[in-house]
Amino acid sequence: MISALIVYGTIAAVVSYSLLYWLKPGWRQSIEQPKHIFQRQLDGYDSQQKTDKSDP
């Protein structure tokens, strides 16, 4: 019974999560947003380091 709960629960969670992703563009964009923010943070860190280095 518990095994069935795990299997069906996991499948249900994955399917609903995936459906939201495909059917709700807003959701899709929101969930993908962090990777771009992170990329900016990385670049911001690099450029700031360069600035810090060039500061007298």
Binding site: V7, Q29, S30, K35, F38, Q41, Q49
Partner: protein
């Protein structure tokens, strides 16, 4: 709200509106370089030390005598695994966190000073005392949790400090738009703090299989909730940082994140498949293991797609290590799913296959991720030395080394599993493993050289070369094409924000769910089973036995000798009835074990004599010539005949293993059968042909296979050398290395002539009360070959018949027949009541030389009930008896006198 430009979209700038303070580029680069450097150097120092412990332990497979109390195999293994997980990986992860957390959260870590406290506690409060204590014999016999409780307390302190250091920046930042690495870091820190005490402390207080259930949870949680989250945090960080492009899909990464955190903790019991832990629990673990494989495929696919444009072999070494780590992660995870399959587990569990699997996880996947994290952190430190050539060479050396090691151990495991299933003698599986073990040790050479080169590359190269190398590598990566699965961003929908909160609660719920399902539930079931099936009175350990148990634990005996006979045919046939829950219900902590280098010891009681154990502990090769068991001379005053208290205690403990079930027999078995109803697993244990089926255990005479018609195997002398020489000597003269330590002494076979049927009986059943074991794991053809070898040693002169035999017969009937029987067949009426129950000689099937007869009659046989008659019979009477004995011998049909 502020609008910023996505700088990583290559030719297609993408506007993004995001909340203030969450994604703004840092106003000033926050660096914790001193802490990164300190943890990085500590990580590599501990890696080299931990690897050295492992190499020395692996060398002891070939040089088992090269040991000492401190450097005994078990203690080295403890130091090796704890050093890799906490010393190397722990420091590497923390070094990475000092780079990643400020960038991911946009805030510095809590406090630099706290960082130094954490550094000190982790290395000087956990690792250093942990190593010193386990090497000096203070440990707990729980896998991946060997440091003693005192060190566990310090470790919990370290995890709390780590949480205080690295979590607040995320809490201050808020959880919206949190990148997947942040989730793994938060998850790893929080769940490690929950699972470490659960796995390191609870099994210390819960006995037997129920304790093993918690142990199993930790074995997997250590990897799943500490190592894997941190390693994946690094991979998800390094890949985009190195390529300069966002990962392929954040959606998939989060799908993987929650999938892993839900399923990993449910895997633990797959370390105890076919054990007494309830099948319902095992099924959950098997199912979760299979599903975990699917989730890992999603994670890996995402990471592989995220490296698009970097080429097959990334130029940046950090990315290259990360990329290889991803590959190892895929393989090790699919391996894990396969290993949980019951049919496959039956073959490979307890073998080197599992050791290969754990090396691939810790030395392949996690170590490569850790190296990627440190390399990347080094590249970001403007003044850090960086020697590209050394690091490049290190990559190839470590990669080749790990592949060779894991492939080799995998093949070794398959070979061992097949030999065990085929019922081959244990020593055969050892001999078959030797070439693999040699390659395993040799594979450590490139790995260690690689680690050494990495240290060199991070300490001796030109300063700032890392940043230049990364920039050059990034310039070669194609930035063309879509950068992922989305194009436009907008503020996260409210439901998504709520979903993160819900998911955080769910994460903690998953953990509690797993502990309940895989820990508390089986404990309850096992307790019910114990209450139902255990005998009314179960013998407690005496003080000596208890001390022996502590020695067994601290020397890591359970790491080579399991204490669980699984519910599978090959185990039951080789060792006896499967272990039931009540049998180890007083073993705290449990020592079920997950590896068999030596045979299972669940039923060690009454399998060997104390003298044999003493000789075996003092000099294992004296009684088992091809054994790889470490020797423990420190337990003796120079000779096995003078055991110290430690040896007495240890052997006393060995003699308790399986004792309860033997004492309960047969009434206990009948009662269990009635109580168990139709429980198929209990019935399987009760229906075993032999309660103790150990092939060496002596049995009453009879039931030996007939060797007539057997074609003796050609390898008779080799079998002799492998199994018999230690006691009986090379030429059967009873002068092997162990001969002087055993009473009765091993027989001088040159002085004896045996009939083949008696030899078959002795070889098959052993000699009860002596150190002569049974050899039932050998085929009839092998036994026939040994019979031939033994008979070839005989130098007994032809039978001499003289006039004194009548007198000899009279004396024999008066003094000897009560033990040896009127016909001299060893079946006298007193046999059943002998104080030392070694069967008297059967003179109808065994003939001694005159010289041996006279010596025995005059002096008796030490260690048996054969008394000296020299002071009670005259020389002529003794001569007459010796002559008479010759006439009792009844050669087999066809054999000449």
């Amino acid at each position: 709200m502020s609008e910023v430009l996505d700088a990583n979209a290559g030719s297609e700038p993408r506007p993004s509106t995001v909340p203030e303070g969450q994604n703004n580029p840092l106003q000033k680069a926050i660096t914790h370089n001193a802490l990164i450097r300190a943890h990085g150097i500590a990580a590599f120092t501990m890696l080299l030390l931990a690897v050295t412990f492992g190499i020395v332990a692996s060398l002891q497979f070939f040089l088992p005598e090269a040991t000492s109390a401190i450097a005994s195999w078990g203690r080295l293994r403890f130091a090796h695994t704890q050093g890799i997980m906490l010393g190397w990986l722990g420091n590497a992860f923390i070094a990475f966190l000092y780079l990643a957390v400020p960038i991911l959260s946009g805030r510095p870590v809590t406090s630099e000073r706290l960082g130094w406290y954490l550094f000190g506690l982790w290395n000087l409060g956990v690792l250093l005392p942990g190593w010193l204590l386990v090497l000096n014999g203070y440990s707990q016999p729980l896998e991946w949790a060997e440091f003693p409780l005192l060190v566990d307390a310090a470790m919990i302190g370290g995890l709390i400090l780590a949480a205080i250091q690295f979590l607040p920046p995320f809490f201050k930042r808020g959880f919206e738009n949190l990148y997947v690495s942040s989730w793994y870091i938060i998850g790893g820190l929080v769940f490690s703090l929950m699972s470490f005490p659960m796995g390191n402390i609870i099994p210390e207080f819960i006995p037997g299989a129920a304790g093993a259930a918690f142990s199993g949870l930790w074995i997997h949680d250590a990897v799943g909730l500490f190592v894997t989250p941190m390693a994946l945090a690094i991979l998800y960080y390094v890949v985009p940082a190195s390529t300069g492009r966002p990962i392929f899909s954040h959606f998939l990464s989060m799908l993987g994140f929650w999938g892993l955190f839900f399923l990993y903790p449910l895997n633990g019991t797959h370390h105890y498949i076919y054990s007494v832990i309830p099948m319902a629990t095992q099924n959950i673990a098997i199912l979760a293991s299979t599903m975990l494989g699917l989730v890992v495929v999603i994670v890996v696919s995402n990471l592989v797609l995220s490296q698009r444009g970097a080429g097959r072999l990334a130029k940046d070494p950090a990315l290259r290590f990360a990329s290889t780590s991803v590959l190892f992660y895929l393989i090790v995870s699919l391996q894990g799913s396969a290993q949980a399959n019951m049919g496959f587990s039956e073959t490979i569990h307890f073998t080197d296959y599992v050791i290969g699997h754990s090396h691939l996880a810790m030395l392949g996947f996690a170590t490569f991720a850790g190296i990627a994290g440190i390399l990347h952190a080094w590249q970001k430190m403007a003044d850090a030395p960086y020697h590209a050539g050394a690091i490049d060479a290190a990559y190839w050396l470590t990669t080749v080394g790990v592949i060779v090691m894991v492939s080799d151990l995998t093949l070794a495991g398959l070979a061992q599993g097949e030999l065990w299933k085929a019922g081959a003698p244990w020593v055969v599986s050892l001999r078959a493993s030797e070439p693999y073990w040699l390659i395993r040790t040799l594979s450590a050479i490139p790995i260690t050289a690689g680690f050494g080169l990495l240290c060199y590359g991070l300490l001796k190269g030109p300063r700032g070369a890392g940043a230049r190398a990364l920039a050059e590598a990034r310039a070669t990566i194609s930035q063309a094409g879509p950068s992922g699965t989305d194009q436009n961003h907008q503020n996260p929908v409210k439901a998504l924000r709520m979903s993160y909160i819900a998911a955080s609660v769910a994460g903690v719920t998953f953990f509690i769910f797993s502990v309940s399902l895989l820990g508390l539930l089986p404990q309850s079931t096992l307790n019910d089973q114990i209450a139902l099936l255990a005998p009314a009175a179960n013998l407690e350990l005496t003080a000596s036995e208890h001390r022996g148990r502590q020695i067994y634990a601290r020397e890591g005996c359970a790491y080579c000798h399991t204490q669980q006979i699984r519910f599978i045919e090959s185990d039951i046939e080789r060792f006896g009835a499967a272990t039931m829950a009540w049998e180890d219900s007083m073993e705290t902590p449990h020592m079920l074990g997950t590896r068999r280098i030596g045979p299972d010891l669940s039923r060690a009681a009454n399998t060997r004599t104390d003298q044999w154990h003493f000789a075996h502990l003092f000099a294992p090769r004296s009684v088992v010539p091809r054994s790889i068991m470490p020797s423990y001379p420190q337990f003796f005053d120079g000779t096995p005949t003078q055991p110290r208290q430690e040896a007495l205690d240890l052997v006393a403990y060995l003699n308790t293993l399986g004792r309860s079930r033997e004492l309960a027999w047969p009434e206990g078995e009948i009662a269990m059968r009635e109580a168990a109803g139709d429980d198929q697993w209990t019935m399987m244990s009760l229906d075993a042909d032999q309660l103790n089926a150990h092939p060496a255990r002596t049995r009453p005479r009879g039931n030996a296979p007939s060797l007539r018609g057997q074609t003796p195997a050609r390898q008779g002398r080799r079998l002799w050398a492998q199994n018999c020489e230690g006691c009986h000597g090379e030429d059967g003269a009873g002068d092997g290395p162990a001969a002087a330590w055993l009473k009765p002494a091993p027989v001088n076979l040159t002085e004896h002539e045996y009939r083949a049927d008696l030899l078959a009986d002795i070889l098959y059943n052993g000699v009860y009360g002596s150190s002569m074991p049974g050899w039932r794991d050998h085929s009839p053809a092998q036994l026939a070959a040994l019979v031939q070898v033994i008979q070839s040693f005989s130098r007994v002169e032809p039978i001499i018949r003289d006039s004194s035999t009548a007198l000899g017969a009279e004396i024999f009937q008066t003094h000897c027949a009560e033990c040896h029987g009127e016909a001299g067949d060893g079946n006298g009426f007193a046999v059943a009541n002998l104080p030392i129950p070694i069967p008297p000689t059967d003179f109808t099937r065994e003939r001694l030389s005159m010289a041996a007869s006279l010596r025995v009659l005059n002096q008796g046989v030490a260690g048996t009930t054969m008394a000296p008659w020299g002071n009670r019979l005259s020389d002529s009477e003794i001569m007459a008896v010796a002559s008479y004995l010759q006439t009792l011998y009844e050669p087999e049909a066809g054999a000449g006198e």
